[in-house]
């Protein structure tokens, strides 16, 4: 307990450094219209370095969504004196004025993730009185500020790839409507990431390592949660010490289930990939396609046990054709490492 408190105090100090720093602009957050420039919200004390302002807490996810190998910086801001209510499943119930902030960035060389990082876009999810608003902001070349781009944007991004060769990424900033493509649940826009399962692991708070949920509880950002040790946690899909089945289901949960769940945008497919889905046909096991069209690739089943090569799920994850590829949005490259993991999983299914 002593150490916990100590770390919390350190982080609190970090979060409140610089008496000169301006607080987050609560008024702008709940205004009917989004700010034209991201800087108006005051989320960052040092935007190019993505150093957060007072009260803006960084976090990450056990298993993140794949987005063309982009680096992501995630932050949560909850207005002073308020807290999110704990939920066992789905995202926490955040109070009005909450902002979930996610910046997408690329290092000049994908092999050196921390060096020469160029910020691309920052997506905001802001909790208003009746609903969440989703706004995309695109960073200037000099990273001094980011501008609201409701219509999205296509960007050519040149980096050095993992193989050391030049790589051109055909990056798409989603338009405000496309946000709904993933963030719709029962027709309302909702966050996806900050669930108990996907937050429940350690985070490095500038050198101080601490369980994220513990930190949120100690900072009184989260109310009603039990001890994080007793709470469910997602499996890190890259953690080879974990059972392959858990890694696979966790990856599919995070990368697919925001649409492929019963209230999600892909409900009509009948393919439901939440990690806790128990109906095996529903999670793809010998499930026939319904409206896949050429997405079927000529194969009979989403997951054909023992036959990854002949499974529609793998076929669509490998494809870059808009009429075939899955997910439909947010990637222009295949996630090779995850595909290898999932192939191994499917080939081991009986």
């Amino acid at each position: 307990m002593g150490i916990r408190l100590f770390i919390t105090i350190i982080v609190l100090c970090m979060l409140t450094t610089g008496a000169f720093a301006e607080p987050v602009n609560d008024k702008a957050l709940v205004a009917a219209k989004p700010a034209r420039l991201l800087s108006l919200y005051n989320f960052f004390s040092d935007p190019p370095a993505q150093t957060p302002s007072d009260g803006v807490l960084p976090y990450d996810l056990v298993t993140p969504l794949f987005s063309d190998y982009a680096s992501k910086f995630r932050f949560v801001y909850i207005p002073a004196g308020k807290s999110a209510d704990y939920r066992d499943s789905g995202v926490f119930e955040f109070p009005v004025g909450t902002a979930l902030i996610k910046t997408f960035a690329y290092p000049a060389d994908l092999r050196r993730s921390k060096k020469a990082v160029r910020l691309i876009e920052t997506r905001l999810l802001i909790r208003h009185e009746t609903d969440w608003k989703a706004w995309p902001y695109v960073w200037n070349e000099d990273m001094s500020d980011a501008q609201l781009k409701l219509a999205g944007r296509r960007m050519e991004i040149a980096v050095t790839g993992f193989d050391g060769k030049p790589l051109h990424i055909d990056y798409a900033v989603p338009n405000a409507n496309q946000c709904k493509g993933c963030h719709a649940l029962d027709k309302a826009v909702v966050p996806i990431g900050p669930t108990v399962r996907n937050l429940n692991h350690d985070f490095n708070y500038s050198g101080a390592v601490k369980n994220q949920l513990r930190m949120w509880i100690d900072l009184e950002l989260l109310a009603g949660a039990r001890d994080p040790q007793d709470l469910p946690a997602a499996t890190d899909w890259q953690d080879i010490s974990q059972p392959l089945n858990d890694r696979a289901r966790s990856y599919l949960d995070v990368n697919c289930a925001h649409c492929h769940r019963r209230q999600g945008p892909a409900s009509n497919s009948g393919l439901f990939l939440e990690a806790w889905e128990e109906d095996r046909v529903a999670w793809g096991y010998r499930k026939r396609p319904v409206a896949a069209g050429r997405g079927s690739g000529g194969f009979e089943f989403d997951i054909d046990p023992g036959n990854a090569e002949g499974s529609i799920l793998i076929y669509r994850m490998k494809s870059l054709d808009p009429g075939i590829m899955m997910p439909e949005l947010g990637r222009s490259m295949a996630h090779k490492e995850a595909i290898i993991m999932l192939e191994e999983w499917i080939n081991g299914l009986k």
């Binding site: 046909v281 026939r288 396609p289 009429g323």
Partner: protein
């Protein structure tokens, strides 16, 4: 629909050209061409109207075309009228997992399926022209979906003519099994009425009534068609050029030409041993020169040495109550 044309030939992302998720939307007087996936999809969009919409893949019938042209799904109160769909690699006009549906005065050509009503209830499909597809009008119900148990569908006054395009659906899709030259096909569903249609020169079969043919793992799914009535249709030609596996299965029993109306005769095994209640039976009321076959697939599988069809059309006379005409709120307002 020829003045405003939205071409998606250079589309880079997205599973469809248009996606509508709002209620009370009218789509009117425009065309969508060459989308990489589906043409126009509306999902969970109640009271949606497609009026004078054209969706087309300009390169003809190709496997690389998108699956569905007009694609409302999980919606209440769907109206598709005066629209045209050409080239879909699954169904031109596809209504799925929906309720209260009218598809009328529309044209579907060179698709795999012209019009398909799937896992839906209360649908009226009438006064459409469905020609040069692989199959004309399909009424299907499939397992393992959130919405199942399609029922109360009326298919009438349609021109189902010359459906003669070889099946170009990507394999794995259920429509991939549809034989070239299938006029109207009913697979599972309850209370489907097919009447006053003209079925002309559909090479495999004019009307096919069938049980879901694949294995499935779903306790809530009924794979048999129940309470189907076929009456007062006009049959011309047809059945003279049966295609593919389905054509083989039929002609193994009936020979060529295939009768106008074919039912696989598959019922739940308990019924096969006893009887089927009146409400669940298959009824055919057609003129005396109409030909019919019950393939008696269960008998013929159990006793393959006595393969024969039941062609006694009179034994299938009768009726089940017809669903009331579908009324849509969007039509009550304007008319």
């Amino acid at each position: 629909m020829n003045k405003t044309v939205l071409s998606f030939g250079d589309q880079k992302a997205g599973g469809e050209g248009f996606l509508i998720t709002s209620d009370n939307v009218v789509l009117e007087d425009f065309a969508v061409e060459d989308t990489k996936g589906d043409g126009i999809k509306s999902k969970g969009a109640d009271q949606i109207t497609y009026r004078r919409i054209r969706v087309e893949w300009s390169g003809g019938s190709k496997e690389t075309n998108g699956a569905y042209g007009i694609y409302p799904v999980e919606s209440n109160n769907v109206l598709v009228e005066d629209s045209v769909v050409t080239g879909a690699s699954d169904a031109g006009i596809y209504v799925g997992q929906s309720e209260n549906i009218i598809v009328r005065n529309s044209t579907a050509t060179y698709n795999v399926a012209g019009i398909e009503i799937e896992n839906s209830k209360y649908a009226d499909v009438y006064s459409n022209t469905v020609t040069h597809n692989t199959g004309g009008i399909l009424v299907f119900d499939l397992p393992n979906l959130p919405v199942m148990g399609g029922h109360s569908v009326r298919v009438f006054n349609n021109q189902v003519i010359d459906n003669d395009t070889p099946n170009f659906a990507p394999e794995g899709n259920i429509v991939g099994m549809v034989a070239k030259g299938t006029g109207i096909m009913i697979m599972t569903n309850r209370n489907v009425h097919v009447f006053d249609n003209t079925l002309s020169n559909n090479g495999t079969v004019s009307v096919l009534i069938a049980t879901y043919p694949n294995e499935f793992e779903d306790d809530n799914y009924v794979p048999h068609p129940r309470g189907v009535l076929i009456r007062d249709n006009n049959y011309e030609g047809g059945g003279s050029d049966p295609d593919g596996e389905v054509g083989d299965i039929i002609t193994n029993v009936t020979g060529t030409p295939v009768p106008d109306i074919v039912w696989d005769g598959v019922v739940p095994l308990t019924e096969w041993m006893t009887w089927t209640s009146d409400a669940d039976r298959i009824y055919v009321n057609e003129t005396i020169d109409t030909t019919f076959a019950n393939l008696r697939m269960i008998q013929n599988t159990l006793y393959p040495w006595s393969t024969s069809a039941d062609r006694d059309i009179e034994d299938y006379a009768g009726a089940v109550p017809e669903p009331k005409p579908v009324r849509l709120p969007q039509l009550l307002k304007t008319n």
